[in-house]
């Protein structure tokens, strides 16, 4: 989730914009029916197709034999949204390609042969699509995709057939949540064919007031139509969140009290669980966005959002730790990172 986390479009509400394309080769069964030998071949075919494509692009990419990666490294990638939890726990032969700036990640043999993902900060679905589409075109020169004129790109799960595309935005909606208007928004968007998920996708709980909005339908709508729809809806949600933030500012002292209390705990606690940390981070982020809490940049908040997750925390501190030690180290990391900042 790097790639220049500066002031990106709507970055006070939208954390990231992601495009994911599901693709399969017509020469091999889907991963559900692959034997180990075939699975190795699929990994090789796509590894070559990607790494031997356009040089200016492929020199930015690294290939990993994910079968040989340890589980802590995989969990770190999950926490950064670069691979799915399902992919991390797969025992079968898989491969993984990542760009140096972590905007492009390609999973080989996840549910489909290929899952191409591009992730950009702020509201930038069009840019994300341009990059993803370009990669798809490069791979398509080397591989015959499973495609039918009638149904489009054929995928392992019928929910992805057609464009094979999932466009999603991750948004931070603390004011709508605090003011109790969130359910109205969620009801409205789900009626428009939008899926709402938590921070870590399917089945994950809502933490830190973070929500992922993505398209439900992949058949019968073009990629551009889907992107426009999600962008329009995201803009409406941003608008509502900003109105709610303004209303909260009407009771400024109460809001300041809440945000500074959270900031006080966040910057002074000695033991912090990951869910308490996410809740506090949400308040601190809101405080920074509203210019109530000064001296911390959104970049630091974004960095801490990943760095305080269990796997990344363990990697920073050199290896496996039990949850209690993690909670102590998490608080320590935040205090170190925030030392000297604040109002």
């Amino acid at each position: 989730m790097q790639g220049g986390l500066g002031r990106n479009p709507e970055s006070d509400v939208v954390i990231t914009s992601r495009i994911r394309l599901a693709r399969n080769s017509k020469d091999y069964p889907f991963p559900t029916k692959l034997n180990a030998n075939q699975a190795h071949k699929v990994v090789d075919v796509y590894k070559d197709a990607v790494l031997k494509s356009d040089k200016s692009f492929s020199k930015e990419l690294m290939f990993f034999d994910s079968t040989k990666m340890n589980s802590l490294d995989k969990s770190c990638l999950v926490e950064k949204h670069l691979i799915s939890p399902e992919f991390a726990s797969k025992k079968e032969v898989t491969g993984f390609i990542l760009s140096k700036d972590e905007t492009i990640s390609i999973m080989i043999n996840e549910e489909d042969h290929l899952r191409i993902q591009t992730i950009f900060p702020g509201l930038q679905l069009n840019k994300s699509w341009d990059v993803c589409n370009h990669i798809d075109n490069l791979i398509e020169e080397k591989v015959d995709y499973a495609y039918s004129e009638e149904l489009g790109y054929l995928t392992c799960c019928p929910t992805n057939v057609g464009t094979g595309m999932r466009a999603s935005v991750m948004v931070h909606l603390p004011a709508l949540t605090i003011s109790g208007h969130l359910n109205t928004v969620l009801d409205a968007v789900t009626k428009l064919g939008i899926t709402v998920r938590g921070l870590y996708g399917e089945g994950s709980e809502i933490i830190g007031n973070m929500y992922q909005f993505s398209n439900q339908v992949s058949l019968g709508q073009s990629e551009e139509e889907i992107i426009t729809k999600i962008t329009v809806i995201a803009n409406r949600i941003i608008e509502q969140e900003k109105i709610a933030r303004e209303k909260l500012m009407n009771s400024r002292v109460q809001l300041e009290d809440r945000l500074f209390r959270s900031y006080g705990i966040f910057s002074n606690a000695r033991i912090l669980t990951s869910s308490e940390c996410m809740k506090l981070l949400s308040d601190v982020r809101l405080g920074v966005d509203l210019d109530i809490i000064r001296g911390i940049s959104i970049e630091v908040i974004n960095e801490l959002m990943v760095a305080t997750q269990p796997a990344n925390l363990q990697r920073t501190f050199g290896g496996t730790m039990n949850p209690n030690d993690r909670d102590i180290k998490r608080a320590e990391l935040i205090r170190t990172r925030l030392a000297g900042v604040g109002s």
């Binding site: 399969n24 017509k26 091999y28 069964p29 889907f30 559900t32 029916k33 726990s89 549910e111 589409n133 798809d136 075109n137 398509e140 020169e141 015959d144 995709y145 499973a146 495609y147 039918s148 004129e149 009638e150 149904l151 489009g152 790109y153 054929l154 995928t155 392992c156 799960c157 019928p158 929910t159 057939v161 057609g162 464009t163 595309m165 064919g193 399917e202 089945g203 339908v217 992949s218 058949l219 019968g220 709508q221 073009s222 990629e223 033991i271 669980t273 869910s275 308490e276 809740k279 949850p323």
Partner: protein, 173 residues
């Protein structure tokens, strides 16, 4: 320590659970722990369960083919029964093998049965080639009709070349 769920009351219950072979420990207050127990009982629900239940509901129990009549994909060997249980296809040809059953599923999931998005460049150029061949055949017919045999021969060679190109690219459905 405060409860990890409500973040308000003090945590006085420790819950250890195994999810995907990973041990997690939760520290909750009594009331959240009680609610969680209830939650765990009616939780076994996931996307593939949901999909297979959509499919089963659409076909109704009585429509499930009796043994021996179950459709099967002749490329990967997946049976229709297997597909309805897992919610996942085995290969691209499953879409052909089960085609007569799939439209209602697509309609239910997407509200549509026809792709209108991106066309792979290869397929796109194949389409163009097919159209060009069709046009050239019409021209050939006209040329023969007006006895322009030299031109007819030229057109015929062009068609032949395009057809060979088509064969070379071949395979894309």
């Amino acid at each position: 320590m405060i409860c990890q769920q409500c973040m308000q009351r003090p945590a006085n219950v420790q819950i250890t659970q195994l999810v995907n072979n990973q041990k997690t420990v939760l520290y909750l207050c009594e009331s959240c722990a009680g609610a969680r127990e209830k939650l765990l009982i009616d939780l076994p629900f996931n996307m593939s369960n949901l999909l297979s239940s959509i499919m089963e509901n659409m076909h109704g129990v009585t429509q499930v083919p009796i043994k021996g009549e179950d459709m099967q994909c002749d490329v990967c060997g997946m049976s229709y029964d297997e597909f309805t249980h897992s919610g996942k296809f085995g290969c691209w040809n499953c879409y052909n093998s089960f085609s007569q059953r799939l439209d209602p599923i697509f309609r239910r999931l997407h509200g549509n049965t026809k792709h209108t998005g991106k066309v792979p460049t290869k397929v796109d150029s194949e389409r163009k080639t097919a159209k060009e061949i069709y046009n050239l055949r019409l021209m050939l017919k006209d040329a023969v009709k007006v006895e322009k045999y030299e031109e007819a021969a030229r057109i015929r060679d062009k068609i032949k070349a395009l057809e060979e190109e088509q064969k070379r690219m071949g395979g894309v459905q």
